[in-house]
């Protein structure tokens, strides 16, 4: 699978010319994960394994429900469980159990794609999905450095990076992602970005009426918004569920993969060109130039 030929590519890693993007009618898509509706059943993890033919190693129990403990090259989505106290949330009420389905956020401005040195190893389709084209991956790990959400995982088996594809193969033929299809409580929905933002705002409003005064939509502007969004009960404190408060691509990565590239090329080429013209203007330092003085 080189890429989804039926989808336009709006951004392609390590590529300086436009990618195929003649189609104009593809809507921006998004997945919305409603934390307040999630019961932590992990059906989404199973559906992800099933559709993508992934079977992770059987791990070990660490005393909580998290299993596997973290994203891996073969577990592209993982339920993470958080026990939070009223002191932590800053709200009335008792102990809360928050559950978040972790995985790629499909940033509008993807740091992984910016950092990737291999042409076409990471693409962003016009619908907003950020996809790893594994056959072009060289295993350098730059995507890991570019990601503000700590998502890409590199397999020890093949040294290729893996993450959630947002079921780009299903979406390309008009289906919803596998996790969306399987979720028994309707906590995961999928549709156009606009409709998902509207629905997320509506759900947040409902939660605020029910007493979660800080409920809101997590669609961080620092990465241009995301194509996976959350409805959080405590949107003022995304750290409660392990999300960065105001994520953005690291300035180190922006510098390294931004302004440093043309400047360094100019410096290296400039040194060669300057040397050439210096020689032509001044001429060589001859071996015997001292003899006249000494004679």
């Amino acid at each position: 699978m080189a890429s989804m030929q039926s989808l336009d590519v709006v951004a392609r890693s390590a590529t300086t010319t436009p990618s195929p993007q003649v189609r104009t009618n593809a809507p921006q898509l998004a997945k919305l994960i409603d934390e307040s509706k999630c019961i932590g059943c992990k059906a989404c993890q199973v559906a992800c394994m099933n559709w993508n033919d992934l079977r992770d190693e059987v791990g070990s129990n660490i005393g909580v429900y998290d299993n596997p403990v973290d994203l891996t090259p073969s577990s592209w989505t993982v339920m993470k469980f958080f026990e939070v106290t009223p002191e932590q949330t800053g709200s009335q009420g008792g102990l809360e159990w928050l559950i978040r389905k972790d995985g790629c956020m499909h940033c509008e401005d993807p740091g992984c794609l910016k950092a990737c040195p291999s042409p076409g190893a990471i693409v962003k389709y016009e619908n907003g999905i950020v996809d790893f084209i594994s056959e072009n991956c060289i295993g350098c790990g730059y995507c890991v450095k570019g990601c503000p959400f700590d998502v890409p995982r590199i397999s020890a088996k093949d040294n290729k990076a893996y993450k959630c594809t947002l079921c780009s193969d299903r979406v390309a033929v008009g289906r919803e992602p596998a996790c969306v299809k399987t979720c028994p409580t309707g906590a995961i929905s999928f549709g156009t970005k606009d409709s998902m933002v509207a629905y997320g705002e509506k759900r947040s409003g409902e939660l605020r009426e029910r007493g979660f005064q800080q409920a809101g939509l997590y669609n961080p502007a620092g990465v241009g918004g995301t194509h996976v969004m959350y409805v959080l009960k405590h949107a003022d404190k995304p750290g409660l569920v392990g999300l960065p408060k105001d994520p953005s691509v690291s300035p180190m990565v922006s510098l390294w993969k931004g302004v440093a590239k043309p400047l360094a090329l100019a410096a290296m080429l400039g040194a060669v060109v300057a040397g050439f013209f210096h020689y032509m203007k001044v001429g060589p330092v001859e071996e015997k130039s001292s003899e006249k003085e000494e004679a």
Partner: protein, 211 residues
Amino acid sequence: MASRSNGRMLRRYEDRDRMNHWFIVLMFLLAGLSGLAFFHPSLYFLSNLFGGGPWARILHPFMGVLMVLGFIGLAARLWRANVVTAEDREWRRHMGDMLKGNKAAMPPVGKYNYGQKLVFWTMVASLLVLLVTGFVFWRPWFAPYFPVDVLRIAALLHSVSAVLLIVATIVHVYAAIWVHGTTRAMTRGTVSEDWARANHPLWHKEVTGGR
């Protein structure tokens, strides 16, 4: 005129230093070309020289480490002659004259002039940074032991010092071409007495005893 030109050759480098130098050159070219492939999309084609992206990624650190090992051997024998002294300040003040081709204005120098010393220490510093940062994000063996913020800083410093090393090397190569008679110091190990008298008079005095 040319009365003192006698065709005598002076030894400037031992064979082992020359062979080490050319080993470093080869490793510099290999590590440099494979590294540049990852630096800018327009240079990615260079990875084909190494059998494609994954192979360039795999080989690059090994060639880099070999380059540094060779350089350590060379630097151990040359660093003393490259210590910057008070006299170098005078030469530095006249650097503009040197570039204009006005060699007569330059104060006499020993084995290395200030420009050469500057290139030497730039190479020492950039190779040290390249070595340390390169280990930090060397996949798959060392990168997993460092937090991602450290990896980001390492990658940035690695590319900055690589560019510094490349620019210093361009200056180094150009100076050797520009000052005629220099390259044979490394290709043959010797330089002409005229060359030594003209470019490194104090060194000439030192090796000939002033004769």
